[in-house]
């Protein structure tokens, strides 16, 4: 396919690897933010192609992994109600809550549907006027334009039976949280290309300046990642600490402003719990007051719970780049994709699942 296949050319990849070897003189630890990038790095064996000096650690950019367990429990509670059709992206269905997961709720008779687009959930609500249709609005900034559009359309259509269970998270506050940790090992970042497609790069310059880290906005294909790494290492070796854009074919400096406009109408910035990382101030989006009627938590009168996290899971340390999946005692033993203890083993974008699937140590 055009704009995909050409960025998987093995010969050009070898040239980039050679270029990286040529400029690397010191050890560097670089974090890719997005789970999609983690998946590509592990799938294509990029870590193994790089010089020994370069260590890649894997960031928190996997919505499946960071959605807090109490939000999963709320999804389970709503989805089990007989009057509800619960719609979600497919990769949330196997995430373990405190006691069960959405697939099990479906097996017990709940109407749980995996959908492709948030707009499909709006259509389900139009087609089922006597049911309450709830969409599980998880994700980073990339997913927000569609989720905002779904609520906007529901209001335009006058739908009274549609609501969102929102667990939106934001990348820049998570990067600051990782960099503020005194044990932080990360010296440079590959920023998440599609997040920046929506939001632009303006938020990153203050982070690069404050924490003295290069940040390279990077795409998702092997050549994108290799070029992003080259640019990041080039900055590190030269002592520069700036924001650069590897992914200019789709990322503009200020992002997609019509999407940002609708997002800012529908959502407001709020503190957010991250599974494995805890609460991060101003790190999420919730529905703005004008759209509060579409808030599923309010509609179903759900109360906060204090769930139990499995104590063996070290996903928080993995998502901060402090440990690798194989350093977890449960990895591949008590915790596998068929029986995940923690969310990074569930999603194919989770570091643990990617390592398990592609056999990295």
């Amino acid at each position: 396919m055009k704009y995909l296949d050409e960025y998987r050319d093995p010969e050009v990849a070898r040239q980039y690897v050679a270029a990286i070897e040529k400029i690397t003189t010191k050890p560097w630890t670089i974090m890719e933010i997005c789970g999609g990038q983690t998946h590509a790095i592990v799938r294509y064996g990029i870590q193994n192609m790089l010089p020994d000096e370069v260590t890649l650690v894997h960031g928190p950019g996997c919505p499946v992994c960071v959605t807090p367990i109490e939000k999963i429990d709320k999804a389970l509670e709503i989805a089990a109600r007989p009057e509800v059709i619960f719609c979600s992206f497919g990769d949330m269905l196997r995430v373990p809550g405190s006691a069960t997961d959405l697939l099990s709720v479906r097996a017990e008779g709940g109407d749980v549907r995996a959908i492709y687009s948030p707009l499909d959930a709006v259509q389900v609500a139009r087609d089922n006027p006597h049911k309450e249709v709830v969409f599980f609005a998880v994700g980073f900034e990339t997913t927000a334009p569609g989720n905002a559009m779904a609520v906007y359309q529901a209001r335009e259509l006058g739908l009274k039976n549609f609501s969102l269970l929102v667990s939106h998270v934001l990348v820049p506050p998570a990067m600051e949280s990782i960099l503020s940790n005194p044990d932080c090992k990360v010296q440079g970042f590959l920023a998440a290309g599609h997040v920046c497609t929506v939001m632009g790069m303006d938020s990153y310059a203050p982070i690069a300046a404050k924490y003295k880290v290069p940040i390279v906005v990077t795409g998702f294909e092997p050549l994108d990642i290799l070029q992003g790494l080259y640019m990041c290492i080039h900055q590190l070796e030269a002592g520069r600490r700036q924001v650069e854009n590897q992914y200019a074919r789709v990322v503009e400096a200020h992002g997609n402003q019509s999407a940002q406009q609708l997002i800012s109408d529908v959502f407001q910035v709020i503190p957010r719990q991250w599974r494995g990382l805890g609460e991060i101030p101003q790190s999420g989006w919730g529905l703005a007051p004008a759209y509060a009627d579409y808030d599923a938590e309010r509609r179903f009168g759900l109360t906060e719970t204090a769930p139990d996290e499995p104590s063996d899971c070290i996903s928080g340390e993995i998502m901060q780049g402090l440990k690798k999946p194989a350093q977890c005692p449960a990895f591949g033993a008590k915790c596998t994709p068929d029986h995940p203890l923690g969310a990074p083993m569930v999603s194919t974008e989770g570091a643990c699942s990617a390592y398990y699937r592609y056999g990295n140590e």
Binding site: V12, C62, Y116, S117, T142, T143, P145, H194, Q227, N256
Partner: protein, 78 residues
């Protein structure tokens, strides 16, 4: 989850900016996508689509730079 795929706009329908839709071909497989957030996109353009929502137009002039960059850094080191 932030997966987004480039596809080619085959046809466009709808006049209102927030309800513009397009039939988009992904290597021959055609699916509908919202074009609300790419108001300048025309038929024949390549767009980046996430979960049924176009979030950017793909810029052809920038798309080739990844290959030219290797030559540039080679020359800079030579």
């Amino acid at each position: 989850m932030c997966l987004a795929i480039p596809g080619k706009i085959i046809t466009i329908s709808g006049q209102e900016p927030l309800s513009r839709m397009g039939q988009v071909s992904y290597g021959g497989i055609t699916k509908e996508a919202s074009l609300a957030f790419v108001p300048d996109a025309k038929e024949g353009d390549y767009i980046l689509v996430h979960a049924g929502i176009a979030i950017s137009i793909v810029r052809e002039d920038e798309a080739q730079k990844i290959f030219e960059y290797l030559e540039q850094i080679g020359e800079a080191e030579a």
